[in-house]
Symmetry: C2
Amino acid sequence: MRSLVLIGHGSHLNGESAGAVYRYAELIRERGLFDEVVEGYWKEEPSLRQVLKTTASTDVTVIPMFISEGYFTETVIPREMGLGHQGPVPPEGVARVLGGKTVRYTLPYGVHSSMADVILERAREALPDLGEEGTPPTALVVLGHGTTRNENSNRVVYENAERLRHSGLFSEVEALFLDEDPKVGLWPERVHAPRVVVVPFFASEGWHTLETIPEDMGLTGAVTEFPENPHGPQTVHYARPVGTHARIAEVILQLAEEARGTGGRGGDEDRLHAQAWAAFMTMARRGMRVGEVLITPQLGMFEVRHALDEGIPGGDLTTTVTPEGLRDQTRRDEGGHHRPVHTLRNLPRGWRAVLSEADLPRAMHALYPAIVEEGYAHQQHALRATPWATTARRQTGIYAKVQKATPEQVEHVAEDVCSGCLRTRLWASEQLPRTFFDGVPGAIPCAEACTYLVAEVREEVSGKRGTGAGHSH
Amino acid sequence: MRSLVLIGHGSHLNGESAGAVYRYAELIRERGLFDEVVEGYWKEEPSLRQVLKTTASTDVTVIPMFISEGYFTETVIPREMGLGHQGPVPPEGVARVLGGKTVRYTLPYGVHSSMADVILERAREALPDLGEEGTPPTALVVLGHGTTRNENSNRVVYENAERLRHSGLFSEVEALFLDEDPKVGLWPERVHAPRVVVVPFFASEGWHTLETIPEDMGLTGAVTEFPENPHGPQTVHYARPVGTHARIAEVILQLAEEARGTGGRGGDEDRLHAQAWAAFMTMARRGMRVGEVLITPQLGMFEVRHALDEGIPGGDLTTTVTPEGLRDQTRRDEGGHHRPVHTLRNLPRGWRAVLSEADLPRAMHALYPAIVEEGYAHQQHALRATPWATTARRQTGIYAKVQKATPEQVEHVAEDVCSGCLRTRLWASEQLPRTFFDGVPGAIPCAEACTYLVAEVREEVSGKRGTGAGHSH
């Protein structure tokens, strides 16, 4: 039995940030090579602190869904997941036994050697006759961001450019960058061929691929003519970023395969995890309430809806029949705001999900990540809370300053942030004698301050947080 | 059958603002002279727009709980309640027939002639030997705020000072003011007697009575000695404000009695109101969910608790047995913030109310003001929605500028404010085919933009509203 975990950055503000990880998880799930594919995020849920608890097997491969190595893959993810590793990850990855699980942590997908193939795929999409006889000489520009404080992205761009020089498909291959030399704006001097294909080595479409690159290069669309360039007329074909190519799923699977090393039969079922879900399913089969939702067994299926929508005929609600559909129905609150913390009491109404018994666990995982595992562990007196001071001490980078927050500041921020949350803060010594496993729908433990609270405490310490009392009414 | 309505200003921010009105309503309720005593607020709920719907009888006396006449009593309250009157209210009050109800609107309690007795009571509390033989000559200072843009408070202070000059209890009586001449700081020149009692003609304890008056007069406590004043040594006794005296309940009853004029048998039961509550009680007797609460019949009583607390043994919840207890348990959210809008989805958990059948309606009125009347009317197709443009056009004073808000601005603010609310905005053309009367707990109509939204739209138009997106995470 094997679990694959894909780790994304996520966002407290941008609801689309997790989209790429969703899509790759779905693609790989369809292949059926892993017993489960789970997503985890730094700034969404399940968090890096929770995600290992949510895996069903004792054989877990963790792949950081980043385009390059750096602060996130070398510092934040290993630290938050408790891997006992900091710094560059060796090519074979890092393997640890954590809480009875064998966890293999790999390099990010972007540094895998097969990324050269993805670049080539993107180039072919932009220029379908690439390499055919009689076509004019064609230059490839692999375009990277350049190394920042957080990401060492230039090395991999140079390596891929070098690999593709040997493909024989291009008359020249250049590595150019947005933020370091050689800068992308110099392309008319450096690139000689009359045809140029530009492949952005970026994780996703965004500000850089849609705004800064076209502006710096003078591009006006997918194809731009430059009739009077220093080396003669040139035509630039602008490809889509590598990180959104479906073939990334192959790269992920290769990374996972290589991390496993000698292979073997995989792991066992995680006992506590299996018990938690067995207990949950027993309750669900009788009908239950958990958090803000109502679960009703119906002819061997399960209907999940907002408890405030009880009594509305199913046909009057937007009906979805997959865990992904439920996830997408509940990603935003009724005002359209992203919900990075799923247990905030702002679950939208107006939908229902009709799910098979096999799909219900994944639907619950999308709706309220990790609450079944954490709720059950708490009921079994096996959930360990992490006090604020420990969470704060662990922070680095821009969040290191939360260590300076006074207990009063933390409590003040928690009054705003946590007062809207279903969870009960065990980490702040709040008591929770029962959970939803005992039939109390709103009783969900909070084992540790979430990254949303940490970020808000940082704002407070920085003096950037509104008091909420500035209004005149 | 008679209903008494006490109108307070209320506050979107200060949870204590409504406290004085609560207390007088309770005092008058205990007397049993009215079949019901209902509270209404400009900035809390039930709102001025809703409060008449919540009265059970067709004979309604409305008393503005203000210390003086002015903008609120002459403009805002009559306008929002639809009295068809603007400007000074005559001594006999204003009587109107509205929706089958006879509504009598009186002057504010502060201008009633019996306020002189309240001033005297306060003076006696500060100086128990007042008027006894052998006591030194004593001066009374009646201390008012002075006329502001919103309140014409000087006339009534002068009138009361004049009345008390004839009491024979004081060697001199002065009317002094915080914000107009003669200013309070001049008291050592104007007041000659060796004993001085100062009675603040203010509605409640607050910034003025606790800070500005003591500072302007040089007071250090309830009794302050001034050994070297121009007219010789003086001792100042500082009384509590008139507006919090229990005797105000008498003033209210006198006002109500005078408004009724020739008396008579009172009104009838309001038919729609009676039907709504009969329908609600029928449902409650079977057990029901409404908004975020669960109502369970128990041995002839009703238990009300947060639906998220279902299954918690009663002994583990803070138990209250009165509507006032329930009101006080639910005035603040779990972070301690005031809840001016009761249908926001931030009802705190951790309590239960055990109520008699007679008390349940008033408890519901405290928990979710006006939803039974409005929900039932909507179910009967008798609830008329007021479009935003109409609400905006009606605004005056600092809120007049909301008329300038574009539909996009209103919608943008509503996305923040209304997305956390149970209610469905009929005034913005949202559809609500069922209500909690049909068994859908969260289905509650919103007939008109509340003052909280109006105030937030004003902030938006003024450019003072945060975007909520200023955070770095």
